[in-house]
Every structure is written in structure tokens, then in C-alpha cells.
Symmetry: C2
């Protein structure tokens, strides 16, 4: 804790610190120092965490842009937090290479009934038994309201208080490491939420441009050095002080940056340096819809050197071919050739026509980029939650097809990711929910959501109201499900798949890819994998020998490659 | 001439062709074909060029977006033009490598008193005697009004009629080639002028974003494939049909394109293919203020593969050190170390702090990128014309300093470029002039210009009114000057410099760079070059032997390297 309370406010004429709580109302004038920073001339005495905020040119008090804790929400005073106070028990943790690992995506608020980091700890053993390598938490930064997906974050350094705040997050990370699980954290640097964003009071954090969700972040305009540092320091804070192992960078295509050194390259360079210094792997994973290999290309080959990126094309190819859905962005993926192409080349859109975008899209992945640099999934928070009713694949597929989806993801050549509950075929939906404090904003959010789906022909009465607490409630996992027979069967199969995956080199590519009607098959690491995409019986052919390594009914079969 | 009159109008419900002139008022309904294109079912008979325009959903007639000729200005009907009708005399022209060549930038409207392409031909022998390799013409595309710089183009395929139109441009290129001069043409793909832009009537040519000068071009949004093709076809038109040798791409930093294949890479790929096909070098030269080596890096090394880029840093280093000006973007270049750095590394801003931009800027140029891929100049149309009163270096420097500037540019390691008249130390200004037809637009342009310089402390009465015809008049070269003694002396020195330059391999780098007070010196290709930046006497030291290769007074000396 820096008791001089430094804050960047380059355009301010006066900045003062307001202390709340016991010292309520005390105001201390800050002094301008170098580079637009302000701080107290002398540190405040004592070491009990104080509630505080800043008044900038008479505006405030507002939270500290680098606040680590917001006990009363994003509109109220910040509270000091000393990350070094936690007694870490993970001294023997050596980190984990995340490319090629099995990742489990979860949302703290709905993973357990209580929806806290501490309650999530109690479920970690389930993940250990499942066999995953890493948990990936949806954003835990502070956002407006009690519950939400987390992408409306406005205080990027604070841990959402309803999840338990930063101390609980340290306990969570420690508990993961104790069980051999790495922690990946979803971070959002491309936009700020619609409520509680006081950054513009402090400085030029926002640019002229506009992203889908609001003002874009100032990455290349005047005074953007400090804005970039705000991002870099944030990433390093989670990795260093909270012992996080990897960061999933939300929607990097919305990071508008025309500098010769892109913020992603700068971030990757700094994170790699921290990794060398800390002596454990630290991994950046980008969510990118650009299909641009530059993002994951090594910096020695003039790429940005990001460790991995999400590959939505793999999702779309699996989803379209299992469900038969061909609307919207699934249109180009109709037909099993799309699945064969992504298994072979990683990207489907590699310069091909994208009917959804009404233009050509992407470029081929470099031949020497490992496919483990692509994160693949048959379901994730977006692909479930951004459907009109937030329904999972369980709503439309048979058990055999769910098993086929799992097999393609977990035995394929990519870095696989599961979405919480997928492993037992959870029937609970995962819907879009918010809890904006402002009535008007809440109503606008609901209206916008309903209008969006009405355009696609959905009955407005069917689309859940994101502000209705029931929408949040029904999105929780039902932990009685994995005990039930059909669910337990699928869960056991997921365990077997993950165990089988471990017998193969993580970086093995898919070869001998055959798309034959409903039957899709490939060889990888000495295994021949066959799935019937309709969930029907596979033909008695190659791979059907009695020495099958794994089966799910007659629809999925893994055998030693002939 | 395609007498089916194809035109792209993807969102139109009806498109019709209007024929003017003798067939005045005749209207022909077009039929929709593939990809949003429309054309006549059968070609119109005859082969005399017609005046024509299109009516889109009742709006029009407007010029053809691909019009080759606008005899009555950009708001009126287009006229058919058959580029194959010209009988080319340049059959023996094999093209010219432009990196390392000596380029001469000129503006057709002010190069000669008459300001036409044909009158420019009459002055080409001056350039031959000077010894340059290529002329670079400011934009010749059709723009609003009679005269202007050309960057307000709205019909990118048409040649400005007051310059003589496309047939005159063919004669000009032919005449250049006959004299061994290559032709580089300035093309503007990043924005459209404020008047006469009817493209939005036809299709989504413009994007959501905004550039400095208006709506940005739609390079990556829906239906952008055809917009990109519009650009690529335009480039190929000039190179193939008009026999142009290179294109100077205006302000590529304003080409906002987030596709995995940037329009510059696509353009370079297509132009390189055309070069192979035509069997002569074709060169793209980017104006870029990004200081991003990606633009000129080879595509094999994942760059865009543009042939060369302008290097404003070299200009700023020369200008600041000769004139002592340190305002605006010159601030960081104060001191001779900036000159030493650019001669050594190409970019000054290679990740360094840019006080003008209020952020760090650029990245180092790859060590293996030849410095001839950087175009250097001590004056150009922008650096003269965008000064408040359009004054050249002649207004502030001595003859000796002008000679020093020329020596740095012409004997340095970069691809040198001169601005018309520089070679004789022209005293005529080159000011910002427009001739917008619309009173309101003209006044707004003038107001904006004056306000811009008022902010920098300039008396509004001193800044020329761009709409005043006298501003245009006084910007013409005075061809009596080179006959005058002082001017003739400088002109002879320019000739000598260019001749001396030819004795050295074009790709030789500068070494042994020494910045010692006012004296700047370097070795290149066996020559030791010394200049006194104040125009004062050089010390009698190395390089002062009687066998000097070239001198200008006591201030500039070139000798064999010791």
C-alpha cells in the first residue's frame, strides 16, 4: 500500500484525497509530480486499510482507477488492500504450460449456488477428478451491480466484492495451485462498462473511436503511454501479486492501436519478461475474431507473440455439423468439409468468403504455428449465453452427439476448453444476466437484448429479461445433476477422454482426416478417432477392432491407428 | 470501352444510364448481374465517345465511379475514353528501379505557367539535364474546381481535365519515357474530397470511421471486397494503361483496415504480379507517418512488401538543423544528433518519445531493410505548402546551406527526392490553394486554414486565402530564375551532386557518421561528405585535400574517403 496515494490526472488543476470511514470527510490536497501524477507530500500514518477516493477539480470523490477493492460497489470509495498480506501456500507451484492443457471455463457467480470464490474452492476437487489442467474464470474485476458476466468491468484492478474481493481471490488461486490447477483469468482491456467508469474524470483513458460497447480505449493517441501502462500494470498485477498463471484477453479485435508496437506485442513482451523473472510460465490467450496469425506468431517472426488464441471457427464447424444450425455465422460452416478444414489447417476463414461479414476474411495460419496455440471448444460462455435463451447443446443433441462433441474437442489437435457443467451434460441454461443499479440502464439493456433477437425472429416473451433476478438464478449449475445416471455416464466419458488425451503428445496434429457423410474421423498421436455426427452407429470398419481404446455407445470410437 | 456500361450499385433497386450530348436525355435501364453489378443487356452501338451518367434509384445522373474523363468537372457527366487509342512510342522502355533513383516531385498546375501536362512536356529536358531518374506528379485525378493540390480527388480513375485529361497524360508519360524518365503518380486512397463525391449514392464505399479529412474508406466492413477492388483496379489502371512506373500512396496511416490481409499488402501483391506480367519494375511508395517497418518489410518476412516509404524523420532532422526551427514536430529534432541517428538507422522515432504526438512513437527499422527503401528530401509539397506562407528553404537559408541540404539528400543513403524548383533555389512560394466551386465550402476551407495557423500565433492577414486566385498564381515556378547567376550556380551544383551520386552504388549505407558542432560528415561509397550546417567554413581537416570531388564554397566538401 502506497500511503502517498499516487494517482494519474494529467489535465487536473487540483486533486485531493478523501478519506472515508472513521476519518470521514478528511480531505488531503495532493501535489503534482512527474508525468501528470499526483500524490501526498508525506505518507499517511498507520496501516489499517482506509476507505478513500479522489476529487479531481472539484469532481468526486470517485474511486481510485487502480483501486484493489470496492467494498461498497463501483460508485463508492475504494478500500486499501495489501496483496502481500496473504500467506501463500503455493511455494512449490512451478506453473504450467497452458498451450495443450485442458482448460475449464467457469463463472464464479453461477458455478456454485452461493456464487463466491470461497464456495468455488469447495468444488475444485470435482475438476481435479475430471482431470483438467486449468480453470479459466470469467472476469472477476469490479463491475456495476451484484451479478453479471463481468465484461462490464470498470475498475480493472479490483476483485468484484460480491465474489469475495481480492483476499478471497488469493485463497482461490492458492487452492487451485494446491490441487495442481493453473488459473487463467479473463481480462477486458477493449472497453469499459456503461456505469461506474470514472476514468475520464482522471485522464484521457478513452479515445475518439467507438467500439461495439462504447468509447474505445486510447492506445495510440496523445498521452496514451500511461493508458498502455495502466493495462500492462494490470496484467502484471494479476500475474505477480495474485499468482495467476494466464490471462484471457477479451475481444482483442476491438483494441484499436495503430502504433508500430501494438499493445498486444507490448503486453506479451512484458509478460514474457515477468515469466522469466518469476521462473514460471505465464500465458496470454487472445480472444480474436480476426483470423490473423500475427497475433500468435512468434515475435522473432514479427508476430505479437501471444501464446494462444481462441478459434471460433472450430466451434462453428463442430456446432453447425452437430446441430444442423446454419443461420448467422454458422452459414459458411454447413457441411462436414468445414470440420475437416479446421482440423487440418486451424482456421476455416483463411481468406475465404464470410457470408456473415459480407466480405472475405482471414488468412492461412503459418504452417509452423502449433495447433495448440488455438483454443477450441464445443461450448463456451458466449456461444451458450449469447443464444436467445442461453441453451446448451444438451437442449438439442443426443448423449451420443454430446459425446462426439467432447471427443472432437478433447482428442483434437487444439488446446481444449470446456464450459462449466458441460462435462455432465448440464441441462441448466446459461443466460445473459445483468443487475445494473440504474433503472434506465437496466431497461435499456433488456430492451436492446430483446430487440436484437426479435430481429432474428424470436418472440420477445421468450427472450429472458437480463435484469430479472430469475434469469441469473436459473443460470446456476445444478450440482445434483452429475449424480444422476445419464449425466454420470457422460461425466465418466469426459474423464476417460481427458485421461486418454494425456497419452498423446499435446502438440500432435490431426492427420488422415476423413469426412464421409455423417462420419468424421482423424488420426492423432497413434489414435484413430471416429465420431458419427448424427449420433448414429458408426460403420464396422477401420478402428472397430475389439481393442478400442474408448467408445461411447456405437457413435464414438477411438482405436489404435492401424 | 465497355458499351454495356457496367456499374456497381449493390443496394440499388433501379439503375439507369443517361446519355448526354447528341443523344441528350436518352435513358437506358440497366439489368442487375452478379455481385451487385448492373449493366445494359446489349452494348450500345457505335464507337464515338459518349457523355454519360447513372441514375440510382432516381438519384442522378451522377458520374461513373470509374469514369476516365470528366470534361465538364466532377459534378457533370462522364465521357467515355479509350486508353488503347494512344499510339505509344515507349516500346523500348524497360522501366526503372525506383528505390535508389533520384525523384523529382512536381505539381502539373504550377510547374509551368500554363499548368498543363502538355506544357510540362516542354520542360522535361530541364529534368534530363539535371539528371533525375523519375518525375513524381502530385495527384492528377479529377477534383473539384479548376486548380488545387489534387488531394481532394473524387473520381480516382479520371485525369483532371484542366491538366489536359487522360490523353494528355498518356502523351506526358510517353514523353517522359522517351527521355528516360520514369513516372511516379501520387494516388490518394485514404479519403475523398469534400465536393463531388457521389460514391455513397452507388454503394458502401465509405466506412463508419472518420479520418482527418472526412469519412474513411470502407476497407474491412460489409461489402468491402468491391471497395478494395476499386482501389486495386485503379492502381493497375495507371500502371497498365497509362504506363506509369510507380505510385506514391498518400497517407497510408489513414487507411484503416483490420483485415488479416491489409489493403497495402493486397495492393503490393497485385502490383508485383503485374510487374512480372508486364516485364518492367513497378514500385509502390507509401507516405507513412507510422514509423512501422512492416510497411516496407518483405512479404516473405510477413511485411506488406511496399517498395519504399517516405521518411519524414530525415526531413525533420535536416530542416531543424539547418533552419534552427524547433516548434511543433521539429522539437524532438533539435540538435545534430537527430541527423546522425537518421543517417545511421533510418528512423529517428524508433520507439522514442514524440513530444508532438505526446506519446512514444515508432520502432527500429529492421537491420536488413535497405535505406533506399526510405525516400528522403529536404523539401516537398507538404513541408513547403503546409507552412503558413508556403515559403521554401530559400526564404531562410543561405546558398551554402541550400547546398548543404542538397548534399545531405543527394549523397545520403536514401532514395532522394527534390521538389520542383528546389534545384535552382526557387524563390517562389508554394502555397495551399483551392478553387472550390461552392462559395460556402471555399470560405470554410479558407477559415479553417487561417484558424489553424492563428492557433500557432500567425497573423490571419499574413496567411494566404487558398481560394484567392493570386495564391495559386504566386505558387507557379518562375522559369527565368534558373537563368540568373546565383540560381544557375546552385543548379550546376545539383547537377554535379546527381552525377557524383551515380558513381556510388545506390544501396551504399552511410558510415563513420560524425556530428561535431555545426559540422556533419559521413562516408558513403568511398566518399567522405562534409557539410557545415550553418553554411560557414569547414575546418581544414580530413577531406580537405586538393583532390576534392566536389565543393560548394567552403561549406560543403566531398572527397575520396581516406
Amino acid at each position: 500500500m502506497n500511503r502517498r496515494f499516487p494517482v494519474w490526472a494529467p489535465g487536473a488543476s487540483t486533486v485531493s484525497l478523501v478519506i472515508g470511514g472513521g476519518d470521514s470527510g478528511a480531505e488531503h490536497v495532493l501535489t503534482r509530480t512527474d508525468g501528470g501524477w499526483w500524490q501526498l507530500d508525506a505518507p499517511l500514518p498507520g496501516d489499517a486499510p482506509l476507505d478513500y477516493g479522489f476529487v479531481v477539480d472539484g469532481d468526486g470523490p470517485h474511486p481510485d482507477p487502480r483501486s484493489l477493492r470496492q467494498p461498497h460497489g463501483v460508485h463508492e470509495l475504494s478500500r486499501e488492500f495489501d496483496p502481500s498480506a496473504h500467506e501463500w501456500a503455493d511455494g512449490s507451484w512451478r506453473g504450467r504450460e497452458l498451450t495443450g492443457a485442458v482448460i475449464y471455463e467457469l463463472h464464479i457467480g453461477t458455478f456454485t449456488p452461493i456464487g463466491t470464490l470461497d464456495s468455488a474452492i469447495a468444488r475444485l476437487d470435482h475438476l481435479v477428478e475430471l482431470g483438467v489442467d486449468a480453470v479459466e474464470v470469467l472476469p472477476v474485476n469490479a463491475f456495476n451491480g451484484e451479478h453479471g458476466w463481468g465484461y462490464d468491468g470498470v475498475l480493472w484492478y479490483a476483485v468484484h466484492e460480491p465474489y469475495g474481493g481480492p483476499a478471497a481471490y488469493q485463497r482461490f488461486v492458492d487452492a487451485c495451485h494446491a490441487r495442481g490447477l493453473a488459473v487463467i483469468q479473463d481480462v477486458v482491456y477493449n472497453h469499459l462498462g456503461p456505469s461506474g467508469n470514472y476514468l475520464p474524470v482522471y485522464g484521457p483513458y478513452l479515445g475518439d473511436g467507438h467500439s461495439t460497447w462504447g468509447a474505445s480505449v486510447n492506445l495510440d493517441g496523445p498521452q496514451s503511454d500511461e493508458v498502455r501502462q495502466y493495462i500492462v500494470d494490470n496484467a502484471l498485477y494479476w500475474l505477480r501479486e495474485l499468482h495467476v498463471d494466464g490471462l484471457r484477453l477479451d475481444a482483442v479485435h476491438a483494441l484499436h492501436d495503430e502504433r508500430a508496437v501494438h499493445i498486444l506485442e507490448e503486453l506479451a513482451t512484458r509478460v514474457d519478461a515477468a515469466s522469466a523473472e518469476l521462473g514460471r510460465p505465464l500465458t496470454l490467450i487472445a480472444e480474436s475474431d480476426l483470423n490473423d496469425p500475427r497475433i500468435i506468431r512468434d515475435r522473432a517472426r514479427t508476430g505479437y507473440g501471444i501464446g494462444a488464441q481462441w478459434d471460433d471457427d472450430v466451434h462453428h464447424a463442430i456446432h453447425a455439423n452437430l446441430t444442423g444450425e446454419t443461420t448467422g455465422y454458422y452459414a459458411d460452416f454447413a457441411g462436414v468439409a468445414s470440420l475437416a478444414k479446421v482440423f487440418d489447417r486451424g482456421f476455416f476463414h483463411d481468406g475465404t468468403w464470410s457470408s456473415f461479414r459480407e466480405r472475405h476474411h482471414g488468412r492461412p495460419l503459418d504452417a509452423d504455428i502449433p495447433h495448440t496455440r488455438l483454443v477450441a471448444f464445443s461450448q463456451d460462455h458466449d456461444q451458450i449465453g449469447n443464444r436467445a435463451v442461453g441453451d446448451r447443446l444438451t437442449a438439442t443433441l443426443t448423449q451420443e452427439q454430446l459425446a462426439a462433441a467432447a471427443t472432437l474437442t478433447l482428442l483434437g489437435p487444439f488446446t481444449p476448453m470446456l464450459f462449466m457443467g458441460e462435462e455432465w451434460g448440464a441441462t441448466t441454461p446459461w443466460q445473459f444476466f445483468t443487475s445494473h443499479l440504474e433503472k434506465e440502464l437496466g431497461e435499456a439493456t433488456a430492451r436492446g437484448r430483446i430487440a436484437e433477437f426479435a430481429k432474428m425472429g424470436w418472440d420477445p416473451d421468450v427472450v429472458p429479461d437480463p435484469q430479472n433476478p430469475e434469469t441469473f438464478e436459473r443460470s446456476h449449475l445444478d450440482w445434483s445433476e452429475p449424480e444422476q445416471q445419464e449425466h454420470a455416464r457422460l461425466l465418466a466419458f469426459y474423464r476417460d477422454l481427458i485421461a486418454l488425451r494425456r497419452t498423446v503428445p499435446a502438440d500432435a496434429r490431426a492427420t488422415d482426416i476423413v469426412a464421409d457423410g455423417d462420419v468424421f474421423s482423424f488420426t492423432r498421436g497413434g489414435m484413430r478417432v471416429l465420431v458419427n455426427l448424427r449420433g448414429n452407429r458408426l460403420p464396422e470398419s477401420a478402428g472397430s477392432t475389439p481393442d478400442a481404446l474408448l467408445r461411447f455407445g456405437d457413435a464414438v470410437r477411438v482405436a489404435p491407428a492401424g
